[in-house]
């Protein structure tokens, strides 16, 4: 007993040590650096913050736009999650891969895609103008709240689809059948049985979406224009444009405190809401598309996904080929070192860099996430263990609610000198990515781990399995499916992460988003065209990676 408790204690050290080294230490460094640039505390930033109603309005806007975006995303994606969870159809794995692509795209690319899709000169507007004989473009969402909401739905649809859909797929359908036989009509079954059972998964997904929208940066900055600012945008403006580090740091602190409070409340709620479920393998819960009703449900949802998620991407691809009468011109140009620059990196090298970083991130995030989620899902017998869990859970999520800009600066300031000099290390980028990715792994794993019936673990224990063996033979095997979802998230997050990477990636080893950003920074149609071409490449790589992971399932693992 004592020995196994020691193992558990050691296991707690792994995520805590990682967070201490690569989150709190850099964060602390940047905050002290910002508040006390010359070694003397400078509170002027905080005073300004409290004294101004502008920042209160910024906070309020940050909250309500995030809440509205989350609500819209959940409402739109739940039917899709049902279709993915309960139906089997041929295009499913392809659609699954395609719908996850938006999630990984850098905001600059998405902004371009939306402009290509719904901008004043887009094909949609041109078609409507000629159809109705209009002078001006009828759809003009540029710099309105609508384009922000739309972009947030675009980004986060896949989060709800994956988490809720994956959970739904393993939900015992017999419970719903039981409710039907007890006289519940389909609507009652939905509200009384299905939704309450799905609640932990929906909660987890909605919560992630909220955090993303709360810390939304590129979408607000580029699509929203100067009229809109979230806390994160304000931090960026203060840091980069005005170089007002004390104020930026003060805003960072407000953001961190706010998100941590949210995370803490949420994790308490989630641990309470989850019930041990009798999970079924998906071949038992899923049915084929047969009746007209099935076709209608599946068809309408797939159509929505195509319109909402794929149209902007297709518009982007189309534009990368047609801009300025282009053809393959911009793609060919990617391989030419026009500037004879020593910093020139062939695009193929950026692809290799991104894939390498993503692979390391997946390994790190899965390892850390698995250990952390297993610790959190442990049935807590003692008061102290329960307290430790209640603390660890929101702590793990904290990196998600922290400004990427702040974090990137923190990495540069803190990790470039002894005792921890990683400045020249290739590990710096995957470490930053892991910080953002492994909370996703934890969130994907937790509902599945908490859903395992305690008797399964006890049965293994009675059959002679040590605590470690129980974990390996029961928990690990059963959550294979969730592990896979987590891997996809980690991979795609690493592929698309931009904010922190832009600051910490070494000039000779850019990732795909950084390379795109470099092209966008240069003037002229040639560079813009190349940015579009490279965005298309990034999409392609992500799609291929996603399909690969989807097929990279061995034997029984992933059946669940």
């Amino acid at each position: 007993m004592i020995r196994s408790r020691g193992v558990v204690g050691l296991a707690y050290l792994i995520p805590l040590l990682f967070l201490a080294l690569f989150f709190f230490y850099p964060l602390f460094s940047i905050l002290t650096y910002s508040f006390a640039p010359e070694g003397v505390l400078d509170w002027s930033g905080l005073y300004k913050l409290v004294g101004s109603s502008y920042y209160l309005r910024t906070l309020w806007f940050t909250i309500w736009q995030a809440a509205l975006s989350t609500l819209l995303t959940v409402i739109l994606a739940l039917p899709g999650a049902y279709v993915f969870g309960r139906y089997q159809f041929r295009a499913k794995s392809l659609m699954q891969a395609l719908t996850t692509i938006p999630f990984v795209l850098p905001t600059v690319v998405v902004a371009n895609a939306f402009t290509a899709w719904l901008g004043p000169r887009s094909r949609v507007n041109l078609a409507l103008m000629s159809l109705w004989g209009l002078e001006r473009a009828p759809v003009d969402l540029q710099h309105t709240i609508w384009i922000i909401l739309l972009a947030h739905v675009f980004y986060n649809y896949a989060v709800v689809l994956r988490i809720v859909g994956g959970f739904w797929a393993n939900l015992d359908h017999r419970v719903e059948e039981a409710a039907r036989t007890l006289g519940a009509n389909p609507r009652q079954v939905l509200w009384q049985v299905t939704l309450p059972l799905l609640a932990p998964a929906i909660g987890a997904a909605a919560f992630l979406v909220f955090i993303f929208c709360f810390t939304s940066f590129g979408v607000i900055l580029i699509l929203g224009g100067p009229r809109f600012a979230t806390l994160e945008v304000e931090i960026y403006r203060q840091t980069v444009n005005l170089f007002n580090l004390p104020l930026a740091a003060a805003l960072s602190v407000v953001q961190i405190v706010f998100t941590f409070t949210l995370l803490w409340a949420y994790t308490l709620l989630q641990a309470r809401a989850s019930v041990p479920l009798d999970l079924r393998p998906r071949h038992q819960t899923q049915r084929r598309v047969v009746s007209r009703r099935d076709w209608l449900i599946v068809g309408s949802n797939l159509t929505l996904m195509v319109i909402l998620l794929l149209s902007p991407l297709l518009a982007l691809v189309e534009r990368s080929f047609t801009l300025g009468g282009g053809g393959l011109r911009y793609y060919a140009e990617l391989f030419v070192n026009r500037r004879d620059s020593i910093l020139y990196v062939p695009p193929i090298q950026a692809v290799v860099n991104s894939l390498g970083f993503a692979t390391v991130t997946v390994v790190l995030a899965l390892g850390l996430g698995l250990v952390s989620a297993s610790l959190l899902a442990q049935p807590a017998k003692g008061q102290s263990l329960r307290r430790l869990q209640a603390l660890l859970d929101p702590l793990l999520m904290l990196p998600l609610g922290t400004s990427a800009v702040t974090l990137g600066f923190g990495f540069i300031i803190a990790l470039d000198e002894p005792p921890l000099n990683l400045r020249t290390s290739l590990m710096l980028v995957p470490l930053a990515h892991t910080l953002v990715a492994f909370p996703f792994v934890v969130r994907s794993l937790l509902p599945a781990l908490r859903g395992i019936k305690p008797s399964l673990r006890e049965a293994a224990s009675m059959l002679g399995a040590s605590p470690l063996q129980v974990w390996r033979e029961v928990d690990f095997r059963i959550v294979g499916r969730a592990l896979f979802v987590g891997a996809v998230f980690a991979f795609t997050i690493s592929m698309g992460e931009f904010g922190a990477t832009a600051l910490i990636a070494r000039p000779q080893t850019p990732t795909l988003p950084v390379a795109i950003y470099r092209f966008l920074g240069q003037p002229g149609a040639l560079n813009y065209g190349q940015a579009l071409a490279m965005s298309t490449l990034l999409m392609l790589v992500c799609a291929v990676g996603m399909v690969a992971i989807e097929h990279f399932r061995v034997g029984q693992v992933g059946e669940f």
């Binding site: 006890e458 049965a459 002679g464 129980v470």
Partner: protein, 364 residues
């Protein structure tokens, strides 16, 4: 000395006392049933013996050794769960092989895989599931899942097998069949078994001895016949379905005053003047109204007749359960085996002839 010794075990959950100083012993090769209504603490006791719960007080000794510091996976016991807890991500073979693989260091065989395969096959043959090795456990019927769970707990040859309501979720016909089969299998293997159930018929069919529990205490320990014939307390009598019970007093050799009048009874363990609980067994009476109908004459002694009216009856297949409202005393329930139709109708006056051996007296 007993193989397993439960010594004064108590357990409290939050604010409810689940076990109050429970003690008893289990001998090698014995099948013991823990019998009692739900919530009486029998499952808690089982989980304490398994090591899944820690007792607040008392000891569990196995071969004289205190199990307190031994974690569940080192006890070498088998536990079959009420919901079977089959691993949904493994097929039948891998479920049964699980325990063997966990203890493989103990096997010390050169050809481990072959040995495991052998033992799994053996265990599956024991429960009559040959050829089920590759099946998914999600495609098993209730009875099959029960057998797989049994095979899984038997395969590593546990030194003590515990079964928690193993037939609880099965249909009646299947239950009746599996009850006898289960006893044959357990006796065939010779494994010491603790069997938890709330069903008296199940307990009596399977057990060598039963431990009857109520509200966290042991009410009676004994053989099924012993408990049924001589229930130690009114609770035991009631639980066993002996509901024809009332307060009485021994008034002489073989005579007792009861709510139903003076009755003939066996008073070997009592003296005149003792206050007792009087129990009339439901199978202790025959209809005396029409001797011809039951095919043999009724020799009725003094104090062996009860006069009343038939107020309810239900057909139980081969026998009837009758409720009689006697002229004096509370209503009585009797089980009657009748060939053909019951010769009396609802509302008819009936006379019941009692067998004095079926009138049980408990010291009050």
């Amino acid at each position: 000395m007993s193989l397993l010794e439960i010594r004064d075990v108590s357990k409290t959950f939050a604010d409810t006392r689940a076990l109050h100083g429970v003690s008893f012993g289990v001998d090698e090769g014995e099948i013991i049933c823990l019998l009692g209504p739900s919530g009486c603490g029998k499952t808690t006791l089982l989980r304490i013996i398994a090591g899944l719960e820690t007792p607040d007080g008392g000891q569990v000794l196995f071969r004289g050794q205190d199990l307190g510091p031994v974690p569940p996976h080192r006890r070498g016991f088998g536990l079959m769960f009420q919901d079977y807890a089959l691993f949904p991500h493994r097929n039948v073979f891998d479920n049964v092989a699980f325990g063997l693989r966990m203890r493989k260091d103990a096997l010390k065989a050169m050809d481990l895989t072959q040995k495991i395969e052998e033992q799994v096959r053996e265990a599956l043959a024991l429960v009559g599931l040959q050829g089920f090795e590759r099946r998914s456990v999600n495609q098993l019927s209730g009875g099959e899942a029960q057998r797989v769970a049994l095979a899984r707990s038997l395969a590593p040859h546990p030194s003590l097998l515990m079964l928690d309501e193993p037939l609880g979720s099965l249909d009646r016909a299947l239950r009746e069949r599996l009850m006898n089969e289960l006893r044959d299998i357990l006796k065939g293997v010779g494994v010491t078994t603790l069997y938890v159930t709330h069903d008296q018929a199940e307990a009596f069919a399977i057990a060598d001895r039963a431990v009857l529990m109520n509200a966290g205490r042991v009410e009676q320990v004994g053989s099924p016949e012993g408990i049924y014939c001589r229930p130690a307390t009114p609770f035991v009598a009631h639980f066993l379905g002996l509901t024809n019970m009332g307060e009485g007093k021994v008034i002489g050799q073989g005579r007792v005053a009861s709510p139903w009048g003076e009755l003939a009874a066996i008073t070997d363990n009592c003296r005149p003047g003792d206050r007792v609980s009087v129990i009339i067994r439901p199978e202790a009476a025959r209809l005396a109204t029409d001797n011809a109908a039951i095919g043999r004459p009724v020799a009725v002694g003094d104090g062996c007749l009860i006069y009343g009216r038939l107020v309810a009856r239900s057909f139980r297949g081969g026998r009837y359960r009758l409720e009689i409202q006697p002229v004096i005393g509370p209503s009585l329930t009797f089980d009657l085996t009748v060939v053909g139709a019951l010769p009396v109708d609802l509302g008819d006056a009936v006379t019941m002839a009692l067998d004095p051996a079926g009138v049980v007296l408990l010291p009050a």
